[in-house]
Symmetry: C2
Subunit: 202 residues, 2 copies
C-alpha cells in the first residue's frame, strides 16, 4: 500500500535536509551529512533527487502548496467575528500554535536564511510569507468596518499594523529549536491584541 516506488527514504531525506538547512543554511549543509543522518550513502540520495538544489526546490514547492491561515479563520473562531477583541485573541492562539510546529519553525528559518541568496528557479522572499496572512486580515478588518464594529480606517493599514507585531514576536521566538517559549509568545500576542483593540474600537 505504499505510494509507488517509495520506501519512505525520499521523505526522510526531505525532513533531514530541512532540519539541516534551517540550522546551517543551504550551503552549510552537505549531502554527505544528510545521507549519513538518513542512514544511507551519499550516492543513494541521487536516486531520489538529481541534485542538491532539487532538494531545496522540493521543500519550498511543497511548502508553498499548503494554505493554512485562511483555514484558521474559517475555523470555529468565526463565531466571534462580531466580537473583534476575542476574535483577534483567538486567532493569535491558533496561529502561534501552528507556527510552533517544528516544520513551520524550520521553514520560516530557512526562508529567513536563504531569502537573500540569488537562486535560479525557486523564489524565496519574506514578503510572500507576510502577504498571505496580511491579506486575510485586510479582508477581516474590511468586514469589521462594514458592520461598524470598529472605526473606519484603511483596512490594509490595519492589517499591516496588526500582523507586523505578530511576526516580530514570531521571529524572536524562532531561535529556540524546541519551541518551548510558546507561552511567552502567546502572552505578548494577547497584550498586543488588547492594545490593538483599544486603538480601533469605536
Amino acid at each position: 500500500m505504499r505510494p509507488k516506488g517509495k520506501t519512505g527514504t525520499r521523505k526522510k531525506i526531505l525532513d533531514t535536509a530541512l532540519e539541516m538547512f534551517s540550522l546551517y543554511g543551504y550551503k552549510g549543509s552537505s549531502i554527505r551529512l544528510i545521507a549519513k543522518k538518513v542512514g544511507i550513502r551519499e550516492s543513494s540520495v541521487y536516486s531520489h533527487f538529481k541534485s542538491k538544489a532539487e532538494i531545496l526546490n522540493a521543500l519550498i514547492t511543497e511548502y508553498k502548496s499548503r494554505k493554512v491561515s485562511a483555514e484558521i479563520i474559517s475555523d470555529k473562531i468565526l463565531d466571534y467575528i462580531d466580537k473583534p477583541e476575542i476574535f483577534m485573541k483567538k486567532f493569535c492562539e491558533k496561529i502561534f500554535e501552528q507556527w510552533n510546529t517544528p516544520y513551520e519553525r524550520r521553514m520560516m528559518r530557512l526562508f529567513l536564511i536563504e531569502q537573500f541568496a540569488e537562486r535560479e528557479g525557486t523564489e524565496i522572499s519574506l514578503t510572500s510569507f507576510l502577504k498571505e496572512i496580511r491579506d486575510v486580515w485586510e479582508f477581516v478588518f474590511g468586514q469589521m468596518i462594514k458592520f461598524k464594529l470598529i472605526k473606519k480606517t484603511d483596512p490594509s493599514l490595519l492589517a499591516n499594523e496588526f500582523t507586523s507585531v505578530l511576526f516580530i514576536i514570531r521571529f524572536e521566538y524562532l531561535t529556540d529549536e524546541k519551541g518551548e517559549n510558546l507561552d511567552k509568545a502567546l502572552k505578548l500576542a494577547n497584550k498586543h491584541a488588547g492594545f490593538f483593540w483599544k486603538a480601533i474600537r469605536k
Copy 2:
C-alpha cells in the same frame, strides 16, 4: 600618517567580506573570492586575519561597538518631544535614512542570515538588534506619559508596538541591495506613526 602597519587592506577585506557574507552567507563566501575581489592572493588574507571566522568576528564586534539610535534621539528632534506625532515621524525619517546605508543594510542581512547558525565566541541574535531601539522608545514613551502627553499605558508595550512595525518595514525593503525604495518605506513608516499617534493620544 597611516595607522601603524596598515595599508588599508584590512579594511578592504572587511568591506568585501561583509558584502559577500550578506549576499551569500558566511559558508557561501570563500576566502578565495574575497581575496580576488580585494585584489590580493588568498594567502595574503592570513596576514590580516588568522582565520575566516576571525573576519566574521571582527565585523560583528566592530558593529556592536557602535551606538546610534540614542544619538538620533538626542539630535535636533528632541525639540519636538512635546509634540509626539511630529517626534515619531521625525524619528522614522532619521532612522530609515540611517538604516538605508549599505553598511547597515548588509549588517542587518548578515544578522538575519547567520543568527541561527551555532557559532563559538560571537553571539548573533535578532533580539539584540531590536532591543537597542526598543529601549530608547520605552524611555521616550515613559517621559511622554510622565508629562501627560499620551494615555497612561505600559511603556514597554508601547515601545514594542511602535518599533515592531518599523522593523517589518525595514525587513521588507532589505532585499534590494541598492536601497532604492527608501521613499516607499518612509511613506509606510509615516502612516504607521500617524495611526499610532491616534492610538495613544489622550
